[in-house]
Every structure is written in structure tokens, then in C-alpha cells.
Amino acid sequence: MDTSRRQLLKAALGGSAALSLSGCSLLPRKSGFQPEQYSAAVGRPDGTFGISSVDLQGQPLWVSAVETRCHSGCMHPRGNKLVFFERRPGWSFYVLDAHTGRRLHHIEAAPGEHFVGHGVFSPDGRWLYATASRYEPGEGIVAVYDAEQNYQRTNTFELAGIGPHQITLHPDGETLAIALGGILTHPDYDRLKLNLDTMAPALILMNRRSGKIVGRLTPSHHQQSLRHLDIHPSGKVYVAYQHQGPRHETPALLARMENNRLQEIRFDGDTQIGLGNYIASVIAHPENDLVAAASPVGGTAVVFQGSTGKLLAKASIPDCSGVQALAGGDFLISSGQGKLVRLGANQAAQELSQLPLYWDHHLV
């Protein structure tokens, strides 16, 4: 990177100078009751990593340096704290002050376990539920931490499966929904997938107090690694797959839970190809019936009607991955090239900003 870009980045992320986003002075307001900022793990051109937050004026609020690359996280229900997990195999998570980025806690994984990048709070903010793996036996678990006791580990729920990834809370406030990717990995073997022939992905529904599994739904093909999910306030559950078979196969990558089964959603051939057998994020818009998904592998983001699966919008955005719902009914898409793009059902994609950093997988 040349010196001027370096200086720009330094200024932008150090908060010492205002950075004008290209062609943009304000970011759209987020939907619902979320705090008025967007946060994500970031990579920086100098090879370092951080967690970064931008406000609705598009100004970087802060960047909190972290030792290794992070993946995703969750906002505390009170909106004052952010939790971010290290990228798989994650050996720790960070608790940050949402307003300043100041590090409040740095919690290491229990011996023999690693995190996988995701977590969610209980509605009252007391409990943090983190998906994790006991890597020697290859057992997926939900690790429970007490946010009021300095994130002490208090409980462990068994998933009876391999490779959990995203976890979220059902609007009933009682049920955790967990995407079980089914892929066995081990930190000694980098990101090698050890069981592609025998993987058993699933959507798991679990009582958050007892840890009892109350539902386990499986995709139509055992190599559909069910990795991400989101739940509409009405309770409609959407899941996203990453297909582990050959690239020239282009099976469904999204599904809606219906009558206790996964109703898979397949688009036209070109769109399926554009999704590259890999969805990194799926978000159901809380204000309407729209769902958005992004594929960095295919460089494609889509918006579709949740109830029918009808494709409504598609944009080519290289390395796009993060998705958030915006007030008014559109979506915000982030990319590994530092872009934030607005995408809705009825208008062309609009590039809102470009920062000299790499937005990592998820927008929080």
C-alpha cells in the first residue's frame, strides 16, 4: 500500500481525522432497536486485525486491535457491549465497550475446546451462548458464560453432532437455533475437512435453559453444510448452506423451516452459479418478507421473498459477505474490499462507502 493510503487508514481508524466516505455522508439507519452503529471484524492492509465500528454518519467510531483474525459476534441486549469471537479455531473471545471499543474482557476457550466464531446473548443479557468444539473427540457444544460474573463459564450443552457454527435466539426468547455444519476439523490440521463423506449437518433447536434439543432438521443432501441462519421476528427460520460437493453441482443453498422440515429454495441456474455453492450470511428483514444472502466465493448478493423464495434482486459485489437489515426495508452488504453496499428489492445496488480495510464475514 502506498504511503498516502496508509496515512488515510491511520487517520480513519485512529479517529484523529474525519474521513469522508466516497459519495456518502450518512449511512442508513439500522432497523429495529439496535444501537446506531455497525461493527465487524476487520483485516487491515498491513496484515493486522481488529474489530471496527462505524456510526451512522459513516465515520469510523473506533478500531480495537486484536491479536488474531476474528469472525463474528453479538451485541449485548443493552447495547453497551460487543462480543467478538476469533476465527475458527478460535482460542478466545473479546468483550468490548460498544461506544469506545475499549477491551473489557478477553476470555480464553476452555482447555480442549475452541470457539467457531459465533455467539448470542439471552434476552436479559445475563448469559452468553457460544458455539464451540471439543476438538479431540470432535464434539460440537454450546458453551454458556455468565456475563454478570466476568464471563465465567457456567454450563455446557451437548449438540450430539460435529461442527456447529452460527447460533441465534428464537423470538420466543427460549429457543436457541444452531447451524450444525457437520464438518469435522481439528486445529492440528489447519482447515482440513476430515469427514466429507460422512458429514451430518443439521439445524438444531435447543432449549436455552436446559440444553435439551427440541428439534433437529437435516438438509436434503449430507454435503450441504448448514452453516448460517437467521430468524424473522414472526418465528420463520432461514438457513444457508455451503455445498461440499463438486463445483459443477449447484444445489439449493438456502432453506426455510416449514412444518418441521427444511423447504429448500433454489434460484435460476445463473444465480445458483453466481452463489458459488457458498453462502456466508443470511438475514431475514424484520420489517418485511425479504431475506438477503451473500456469497464471497461467487461475489454475489441476493434478495428474495422469504415466503415464496422468489428472487427479487441480485448484485455482483466482489468478496461480499456481511449482511444487515436497514430501517425502511433494504439491506446493507459489506465486502472484503472495504465496501458497504445498499441492496433492496426494488432498486439497483448502491455503493455507500469504501474504507481502506477488509470487512470480515459478518456485520453485527
Binding site: 450518512l26 442508513p28 439507519r29 482440513l192 452459479i273 464471497p296 461475489g299 455482483s316 430501517a327 474490499q337
Partner: protein, 347 residues
Amino acid sequence: MQPITRAICVSTLAVAASFSYAAASANEPQSARAGWYPSIQSGYDLLAEETEQLAEQASTYCAAPSEDARAQLEHQWRDAFMAWQHVRFVDFGPVENNNLAWQFQFWPDPKNLVARKAGYLTKSDQPITAEVIEQSGVAVQGFPMLEYLLFDEALSSSERALPSTHSCALLTRVTRHLASNSEQLTADWQHFKTPYLNTESYHVATLKAAMATLEILEERRLAKPMGLRGNGKRNPYITDAWRSGTSLLSVEATLLGLQQHFLPGFLTLLEQNGEQDLADRIQHQFKATLDNFPAANRPVTTLMSDDNAFRILQGLYVDVSQLTTLVNDQAAVALGIVRGFNSSDGD
């Protein structure tokens, strides 16, 4: 549109038109893939031949050990390993099945799993059968395990050294496993012809495969062990094939494989995109990089042990780095290839 968003100054752009590599590559003729396909086939065929000979040589040596047979065996290991280096850049297609690429070469190995697993298998009373190899994981199943058996100094001076019964059993089983995998791979590649030629995404997959190979070569096989990254300390033991002293020979073989199997189609593609000058520079830089050999073909431990020898490595690194910049930055931009922060993540 909501009032708040109406106030926003947004730059509407034709995102689809300006960003898409698919749009650019859709117009490319199949000629690049039509050239890459048979070339990679010939590379796989050679790998199958070399590994078959390796398996036969291992059996010959273990049946009647002699210095001569041992020398031939070590020589054949090198030939087979270099045949693998020639096609190592192909990270898509049949080599993805059953983690075949990892089975051929488990690397990096920061925890020395190869030695640990070899120790476990050769000290165990359990007979080393084909099934045991099948179930022992990728650290056991490929070239690094054979390299350990043939070249590890500590093992060579122990009672478990070849041609001890257990080590020979492990050697012959692993060479047979490797030959079988190679035969499967070359057969599967034949059947892969139609999907490869007819599926547009394999065009980008092939380009990205070569780019990833150059990046790994520059960063993980050279810069990091040379101490140019991280803590700044030289560490030859994180290169691949350090035990046999063939780290640099394997770098050369990787470059030769790219030059032979990937470069012709790649240059044609650049020329078709009006990038004749860039194509010439890349071709020239491949040659300049390979001109570092055979001078650089010395054990990496030797090259890192004194500053005079280290300069040879530095010269190679500079050339590889320039080659990587030309291919991964300039050509990637010219061909509209996006190699993403997120797209290569896997989660």
C-alpha cells in the same frame, strides 16, 4: 424510500456491470481450459507412473535391502515427489475428493505429526495393513511420511531405521497407498473433462489455483522460513521437504509445473485480452525466476546457515516476489479476477 435515506448522498452505480468477473470471463473462449485440461492430465499421468515405480522400488528394497537399492529408492522418491510438485497447484476437481491433495502432502506440520504418527505406528505391535494406512489420517498417507522414513536423521540412527520390519511395512504400505491415489486421480481427471470444460467457474478456479500457489510459494515456502515475516528469525524447519534437503528443488518443480501446465493457457488468455506486454513480462519473469536454479538447489538448512548462501535464497525470493506481483496483482486486475479476504476463508 425513507426520509432518512433520501437525504443520503449515495453514488448509484451499476454494481453488476462494474464488478463482475463472471461478465468478463463469460466471453473468454474455452481455449484456456481446453489447453489446461490435457496438460494437467499429462502431469497426473506422470505422477501415477512415478508413484507406481516408487511403490515397486520400495518393495524391491525391503525384500532385499542393499545400498544400491536404497539409493534408487531415494532417487525415485525425489522423482515422484517432484512429479507431485508439478501438479500441486491444481486445487480443484478430483484432487478435492477425499482430501487427496492433503494425502499427497500433509504440510505445514508445525506439531511434527508425521514423526509422531510414524513413531506410534512403528512402535506398535499392530500389523501395518492397508486398512491401518487408510484410517491413520493424512499425516501418514503421503510423501512427507516417506521422506521421514528415508531421510530423518534421528530415525536413521535408531533401531527403527529402514529396513527394520515395521518401518519397511510402513514404507511399502504408504507407497502403495500413494500409487493407488495417483492412479485414481488420473482416472478421475479423465472423467472430469466434460464438467471442467463446460463449467464456467472452473476457468476462475484454475486461475485462482495458480495465484494461490504463487502466494504460498512466496509467503509460506520462502518469506516466512527466511525470517522475512513474523519474528524475523530464520527457520528452515517450517519449509516443506527440509528433511530430504529438497525444499528448493520442490520450489523449482512447482515453478516448472506452473510453467508447463498453466502458463501457456494463461499467456493466451492475456493476449486475447490485449495484454501482450504483460504476457511477455510474465513469461520473462518465469524464466528469470527459474534461472536461479540449479544454484539454489541446495538444502535449505545450508542456505540459511551463512549469509553468503542466504543471498542465493534472497535472489530467488526477489524473483518469486516479482513474479507473484505480475500474476496475482497485475494480471488478476487485467483479467478481472478477485481474490478475496472472505472468499478464501471457508466459514
